[in-house]
Symmetry: C2
Subunit: 149 residues, 2 copies
């Protein structure tokens, strides 16, 4: 799936991702890079709204799980967030840039085996909002991927 | 501050709260009740989007802190979220109803004293999305309230 295809899927199926003007910048083997403009996601202090920041982490991590389910050749998957922990370390003063990291190959192997044997597996996804090389928001979310083919 | 005034403040200062059609239903001594419609906050599964759910908790808890700062007669406050933990226990299948709970009177007293002496204090706020009397999303956030008058 290309960046454009993923972005269109999200904008079509999850209206809030379109309203917040989320874009998929790059997908590669190490991470997923997503972006959203400051103006529509601004708060009363002129910095990025905490709700938008956390939503960027949540949907980017969900998207990474969706890409994984495609790599695993799961025809129909159901992916849900189970829990998350987020630390807001610094205000975000420019457009929101979100880096969502691919799990290790060991974690991916264990996840794929679990889904193959049990039709369901969970994985922790790490996602950060970074500005001027400093982590502003530090997120970890646990997602459950089910094979419902 | 009335429900309508708080809602207008949020819609004006934080555009995402207007785009997600957040409404302030009720403010009382025990809790703040907020709502958002399912349709604009829907996901690929036809249930409420995790990002919208977490945003409801985040902004409702922020709003409760803002109301506290008014109760404390702080003329100009700066309120920021520091961290949160959220558990997504059940899907939300109807309009999102968010209950955000007033801290205990002991906690409020300690917070007010801290702000009076140090110009800054932190507080944990509990917020839940409830449907059919069952907790669907369980959130706790830590907020820092500063007196910048």
């Amino acid at each position: 799936m290309t960046e454009k295809e993923l972005e269109e899927k999200l904008h079509k199926q999850i209206p809030m991702t379109k309203l917040m003007e989320l874009t998929i910048v790059n997908i590669n083997n190490d991470k997923l890079l997503t972006k959203a403009p400051l103006d529509v996601n601004i708060n009363d202090k002129g910095t990025a709204f905490g709700g938008s920041l956390n939503t960027m982490n949540i949907i980017s991590s969900w998207s990474l799980c969706f890409l994984l389910s495609q790599n695993f050749k799961i025809e129909h998957s159901s992916i849900v967030i189970f829990k998350n922990e987020t630390k807001f370390l610094r205000p975000v003063t420019k457009d929101i840039i979100c880096h969502t990291f691919m799990p290790s190959s060991d974690e991916l192997y264990a996840l794929e085996e679990k889904i193959k044997s049990k039709k369901s597996g969970s994985i922790k996804i790490y996602s950060q909002i970074i500005e001027n090389e400093k982590v502003c928001v530090d997120f970890v979310g646990t997602y459950v991927i089910k094979d419902i083919s």
